[in-house]
Amino acid sequence: MIRITGLTKSFDRLPVFRDLSLEIRRHRVTALLGPSGCGKTTLLNLLSGTLEPDGGTVEGVEGKRISYLFQEPRLLPWKTVEQNLDLVLKAVTRREERKELIFRTLAAVGLAEFAHYYPEALSGGMRQRAAMARAFAYPGEILLMDEPFQALDLGRKISLVRDFEGLWRDDRRTGIFVTHDVHEALMLGDCIIVFSHRPATVVDSMENPVPHEERSLKHEAILNLEKKVYRALLQGKGDH
C-alpha cells in the first residue's frame, strides 16, 4: 500500500496540495483523474522523489525502484532504441540477461526490428512505445505514468493502450496513471481517484468492477462508472 498523509506542497506560495491524504493499493492500476493543472504531475513527482513535499508523509515508495512513462518519450536522440533501454538497465540487470530482456520487451510493443533505429527515425507513436518498453523493461516496482497517450491520435492511442495492457498483465506492477481523459481512466484504471481544482482534494475514489480483459467502453458497468466519474468531476469543479 502507498499511503499519502497530510501532504502539503506549494509553488511560489500557490498551494497545490493542502493536507491531501489518499491510499493506493499495490498490483493495480490507479488512475488519477482531474482538471489540467490540479497537481496530478506534481503528485507523481512527489512519489518518484524528484520533488520534496513541504509537509506530510508519503509511505510505501521508500527505496523502491520506479519506472516512469512521461508525457513525452524522453529518449536520448544520440542513442538507438536498444541503447536507450540498455542505459537504464545496466545498473540493475546483468549483461547477459539485458539483451534478451530488451528484445523481448521491444517485441511486445512491436519494435523488435527497430531496435537499432535512432528515435528521430521513428514516428511519435513508435517513440512513445519505445519509452513504454523502457519503463516495463526496467524492474520498477511502481510504474508512474504522466498522460503518456495525450499527444497521440486516437488510432495510435488505442494501439498503445493495448500494448500497455499486454505488458502490464505480465507482471501486474503497481501502476499510477495520471490523465484528464475519462475514457483512458475507465479502460486502464482498477481504481479511479478524481481530484478537484487546486489546491487538489480527493472528490471521489471509485473501484472499476470490470476486469482488464473484459473492459470496453460499451460495457454496462463501465457506462455506469463513467456517469459517476463525470458527476465527481463536476462536483470537483463546484467545490472551488
Binding site: S48, T50, R65, I66, S67, Y68, F70, E72, R74, L76, P77, W78, K79, T80, L87, V88, K90, A91, Y118, E120, A121, Y138, L144
Partner: protein, 254 residues
C-alpha cells in the same frame, strides 16, 4: 542540388581567380618585386620550398605546436567548462579571469610569454591561452542547454552521476565543442605563427616568415603565407571530416 553545388564551386573558383588577377595587376603596376612580387613568383618560391627537407621540418614543428595548444585548450576548457556548468561557484570564480584573458591583446601575451618561456613553448602557451576561453565558454553554454527533461528521466531511473555525465550531459555539450573547434582552429594557426615570428624557434613557419622579411624577400613571405593558409584549410577540412563522422555515429545528431 548537384547543379547548385557545382555552380557555387564555380563561383568560389572565379573569386579565387579574381584575387589572383588583382594581385597580378597590382604587382604589374607597382613594378617592385621587393614590395609585391607577382603571384607566379610567390608560387614558384613555394614549389621550391616544398622540395626542401627544412621546410617540412618547419611545417611539422609548427603543426605540433598548434596541435599541442589546441588539444591542451580543449582538455582544460572542457573540464573547466563542465565544472562551471555544474557548479555556480566555479562559474562565478572563472568569469572574471576569462574576461581578462579574452580582453588581453594577443601581442601582450606573446611578448610576456617570450620573457617567461623557451621559444618552442611560447606558441603553445599563446595558442592555449587564446583558445581556452572560447572552448570554456562554449562548453559552459552547452551544459546550460542540457535538456532538463532528460536529466529528470536520469534521476527517476537512478542513473549514476558518471552515466548521466557521460551519456546525457557530455553528448549535449558535443555540438558546442564542435563549434568551439571550428572557431579556435583558424585562430590557433594565426596566433601560433604570430608567436613564432616573435619568439623565433629553430624550426617554424613563423621563423621562416620573419627571416624572409628581414632579408626583404617578399616572395618568400608570400610563400610562407601560402603555407599558413594551406595549413588552416587542411585542418578545417580534417575537422569537417571528424564532425561528419561523429554526426554519423550519433544518428545524424551533433
Amino acid at each position: 542540388m548537384k547543379d547548385f553545388i557545382s555552380k557555387t564551386r564555380l563561383i568560389g573558383f572565379l573569386s579565387l581567380l579574381l584575387i589572383l588577377l588583382l594581385w597580378k595587376l597590382l604587382s604589374f603596376f607597382l613594378k617592385a618585386d621587393i614590395i609585391l612580387p607577382p603571384p607566379e613568383k610567390a608560387f614558384t618560391v613555394f614549389l621550391a620550398f616544398i622540395r626542401r627537407r627544412a621546410f617540412w621540418a618547419a611545417v611539422g614543428a609548427t603543426v605540433l605546436r598548434g596541435a599541442a595548444g589546441f588539444f591542451l585548450s580543449f582538455i582544460a576548457g572542457t573540464l573547466v567548462g563542465l565544472a562551471a556548468g555544474a557548479n555556480t561557484l566555479v562559474h562565478a570564480f572563472i568569469r572574471f579571469p576569462l574576461q581578462i584573458i579574452r580582453s588581453t591583446p594577443v601581442m601582450s601575451v606573446i611578448l610576456l610569454a617570450v620573457m617567461w618561456f623557451s621559444s618552442d613553448a611560447v606558441p603553445v602557451f599563446v595558442a592555449f591561452l587564446m583558445s581556452f576561453p572560447i572552448v570554456c565558454q562554449n562548453v559552459l553554454q552547452g551544459t546550460l542547454h542540457v535538456d532538463p527533461a532528460l536529466l529528470e528521466m536520469a534521476a527517476v531511473y537512478r542513473l549514476s552521476r558518471r552515466d548521466t555525465l557521460l551519456h546525457i550531459s557530455f553528448p549535449a555539450v558535443l555540438p558546442y565543442l564542435g563549434a568551439a573547434a571550428t572557431a579556435t582552429l583558424g585562430l590557433t594557426w594565426k596566433v601560433v605563427i604570430a608567436a613564432e615570428v616573435l619568439s623565433l624557434p629553430l624550426k617554424a613557419v613563423g621563423t621562416g616568415m620573419q627571416f624572409a622579411q628581414i632579408n626583404l624577400e617578399a616572395a618568400e613571405v608570400f610563400a610562407w603565407t601560402i603555407t599558413a593558409i594551406l595549413l588552416s584549410f587542411l585542418s578545417e577540412e580534417l575537422m569537417k571530416g571528424i564532425t561528419a563522422a561523429v554526426k554519423r555515429k550519433r544518428g545524424g545528431k551533433i
